[in-house]
């Protein structure tokens, strides 16, 4: 049994109801041990769209990280997130924030969540249900914290305000849930094998002095890098953490796609928080068989990676936020 913190967000339609439905759906994946209040927050990244409703739950689950991710995606689809809305408002967003003390560094999944220590809408609800995150929350800039306000009343979870398709069981509605979970579970042997290899590799990494490690097999490559601070060690590492979050004024510069193609991060992959000494090729956009470099055009810190490795990008799409401050 592993302990996972999951972030929930929505900014489409009756967002609060969608978040409550998601919490009910999550109950089918294990035991929801704690659940934060609902919070309202402005959308991140300056995009013009409705405010988000966010919450965090603590889930005790037997699912491995990748199996959990698959089920979360299935729940997202069920609760109305469609592929077409890639750049629009989100019907529902489910993220794995932490999974025990494990570190997963894959293109499809990064644990702990890369934005965990940067976003008020994650840390405020998280700190509400786990005091260990209180120092990290206190270290956030006030501007990031102040935009997040607690919703006045959260109706009890036993009275869902929207269709109960994902309700654990009140009127026999659990069948769909189970079949969905079962389908994923049948893949689990493969996934848990992979997860097990990641777990072993992570332990080896933690025990060593290495910063990153990469293992390749025939059809699989696992790359782990040490670029996060485990929650339990936060108190021991105040100086470095503070310098990263409460530093001098942030001057964000958005690097955008200047053509249409498939986005690829360069290897070794740039990561959020990384300092760039000078101009560097961060990624490339593959279009019509040509590799078009995406450069940092100068020094800075990678504040955010906004596009996903291997995904299509359109003209003008934000790829990186670089802090030039």
């Amino acid at each position: 049994m592993a302990l996972a913190y999951l972030g929930i967000g929505s900014n489409l339609g009756d967002s609060a109801a969608r978040v409550r439905d998601a919490i009910l759906a999550l109950a089918s994946l294990g035991s929801v041990r704690a659940q934060s209040s609902l919070y309202r927050s402005a959308p991140w990244g300056g995009i013009d769209q409705p405010a988000f409703i966010n919450a965090v739950v603590r889930l005790d689950t037997d699912l491995t990280p990748l199996a959990l991710l698959d089920v979360l995606k299935a729940i997202e689809r069920r609760l109305g997130r469609t592929p077409g809305e890639r750049w629009g408002p989100r019907a529902i967003d489910l993220d794995i924030l932490t999974y025990d003390d494990e570190s997963v560094e894959l293109t499809t999944l990064r644990i702990p969540h890369p934005h965990l220590y940067e976003r008020g809408f994650v840390l405020v609800p998280l700190a509400e249900i786990d005091d260990r995150y209180r120092p990290a929350l206190d270290a956030l800039p006030a501007s990031e914290r102040d935009g997040v306000t607690r919703l006045p009343v959260a109706p009890p979870a036993s009275e869902p305000s929207a269709p109960a398709a994902w309700c654990p069981n009140p009127r026999g509605g659990a069948g769909e849930v189970r079949s969905e979970t079962k389908a994923v579970m049948s893949d689990e042997q493969h996934l848990s094998g992979l997860a097990e290899r990641v777990r072993v590799l992570a332990q080896a990494l933690v025990a060593s002095d290495l910063l990153s490690v990469r293992v390749e097999r025939k059809h699989e490559a696992i790359e782990l890098a040490r670029n996060y601070v485990p929650a339990g060690r936060l108190a021991e590492l105040p100086s470095e953490f503070e310098s990263a979050t409460a530093a001098a004024p942030v001057k964000l510069d958005t690097v955008r796609a200047d053509l249409v193609g498939i986005f690829h991060l360069c290897r070794p992959q740039p990561f959020e928080g990384e300092r760039l000494e000078g101009d560097r090729e961060l990624a490339y956009i593959e279009a019509l068989g040509i590799r078009n470099p995406v450069r940092s055009r100068g020094a800075g810190r990678v504040a955010a990676i906004r596009a996903t490795d291997g995904d299509p990008v359109e003209y003008g799409q934000p790829l990186f936020e670089l802090d030039r401050g």
Partner: protein, 444 residues
């Protein structure tokens, strides 16, 4: 299907695809992010900033979008890349079906001199004229044979430079030398040729449809003689009023013959100048036309679906005899233009928009209340099409529809269209391409 266009035609193509169960990918510029074609397509990709050269004409980004989204085909609509033979070739090189004829046919029809020669070879009547003239003396002999008035044109010409109307022999020599000098100065090529000047002809075009197996049909003609001084069409109707059966048959026969001769496939339009019973081929448009809905109304056919069907390798499946026109259809183009100020294009935000409805009315548009009209593109906002059992019924219906229409926020051509519809020359079907310019001149 990737829809390589914007505005109402992008919506028109998307509608045909949705009805056929074909998934669509829209492309758009940053200025069109809020546009309806972006919302209605199954997927949408921004391909560049507002100016067309960097977005809708950005071939690498358009092709890349088609490839990364797994498209099989590209529909170019009209304008933009629709008659770009190179683009059609590039599509084929990347395994994408271009919805249109073969690149070689697009190229041949895109070059006026080549198109005219090919049509002449096919037995299609072209405007009487000459090859390159070596001297004023040769020009004089040619003009005598063709008959005045004639038009001297620069072979490298464009924009009216090096072009002269010559009414009689006395004026010829001076016109020849001044046109040569002007063409030399403008294009570094002073060579001239001559064409018969047809005064105030009618502009009548024939819709054709062909499959890849040599089957060709025509879908009648459209009269597009209501044109602004810039030769842009404003009102079109099908069938053409007061056209002799002899001229009508000649137009239809020539259009089908021409298509068979050049190995045409897909939808296309042959434009003719008509003067009395005389018809002269002008040019061929190797694409869907703006005014295609009037033909769709009288033939009860979906031309865009037919385009997709034949491009996917199907045969037409019907012959000329199966196609029967019924009734009459008129289209009015509602443009964001100030018709009292030389049709100057208008940009801005539309405060209120109400479109007409009811029996016999079709509206093809991409605008809505609150939409912004960017300054980069064609000023057409909507096409209102009225169908009636008779021409009079269609006109009455169109007048009623235009009076129902509200487009607040920019000047439009609605009032100009109403003025034309009420004019006796339009009512009686006795108008030619000189009609609207003379109406405007009289108003000044």
């Amino acid at each position: 299907m990737l829809i390589a266009n914007r505005g109402e035609i992008a919506l028109r193509i998307n509608r045909a695809c949705q009805e056929l169960g074909v998934r669509t990918v829209a492309v758009f510029s940053e200025a069109d992010r809020g546009s309806l074609h972006v919302r209605q397509a199954d997927e949408a990709f921004c391909v560049g900033p507002g100016p067309v050269a960097r977005s809708y004409l950005n071939i690498p980004n358009v092709i890349s979008t088609a490839l990364i989204t797994g498209c099989d085909a590209v529909h170019p609509g009209y304008g933009f890349l629709a008659e770009n033979a190179r683009f059609a070739e590039i599509c084929a090189d990347h395994g994408l079906t271009f919805i249109g004829p073969k690149p070689s046919v697009i190229a041949a029809m895109g070059d006026k001199a080549t198109a005219k020669r090919v049509m002449h070879d096919a037995g299609v009547a072209t405007t009487p004229g000459t090859d390159i003239l070596s001297s004023a003396d040769e020009a004089r002999k040619a003009a005598k044979k063709i008959g005045y008035p004639v038009l001297l044109k620069a072979t490298a010409g464009g924009g009216g430079k090096g072009m002269r109307t010559v009414e009689n022999e006395q004026d010829l020599e001076r016109a020849f030398s001044s046109a040569t000098a002007e063409a030399e100065a403008s294009f570094k090529d002073g060579r001239l040729y001559m064409e018969k000047l047809i005064i105030d002809p009618r502009h009548i075009e024939v819709q054709v449809l062909a499959d890849s197996f040599g089957n060709v049909v025509h879908l009648g003609e459209r009269d597009c003689s209501v044109q602004k001084p810039s030769h842009q069409k404003l009102i079109e109707e099908a069938p053409a009023p007061n056209l002799s059966q002899k001229a009508r048959n000649a137009l239809h026969d020539m259009a089908v013959r021409a298509c068979k001769h050049v190995g045409y496939s897909n939808a296309g339009t042959l434009e003719f100048l008509v003067s009395g019973d005389q018809v002269f081929f002008m040019e061929m448009n190797t694409r869907i036309q703006v005014e295609h809905p009037v033909t769709e109304m009288v033939y009860s056919i979906d031309l865009v679906k037919e385009q997709i069907r034949v491009a996917s390798g199907e045969t037409l499946g019907y012959t000329q005899r199966d196609l029967v026109a019924r009734g009459h259809a008129i289209e009015c183009r509602i443009n964001a233009e100030d018709s009292s100020n030389n049709f100057a294009p208008q940009a801005g935000t539309l405060a209120d928009v109400v479109f007409p409805g009811g029996p016999g009315i079709r509206v093809d548009t991409h605008i809505y209340a609150g939409a912004t009209i960017p300054p980069y593109y064609d000023s057409m906002l909507a096409k209102i099409v009225a169908f009636g059992e008779t021409r009079d019924a269609a006109i009455a219906r169109m007048e009623r529809a235009l009076r129902e229409t509200v487009v607040d926020g920019v000047n439009t051509t609605i009032d100009q269209c109403l003025e034309i519809l009420a004019h006796p020359r339009f009512r009686e079907g006795r108008y030619d391409i000189g009609f609207l310019p003379s109406l405007l001149k009289a108003r000044v």
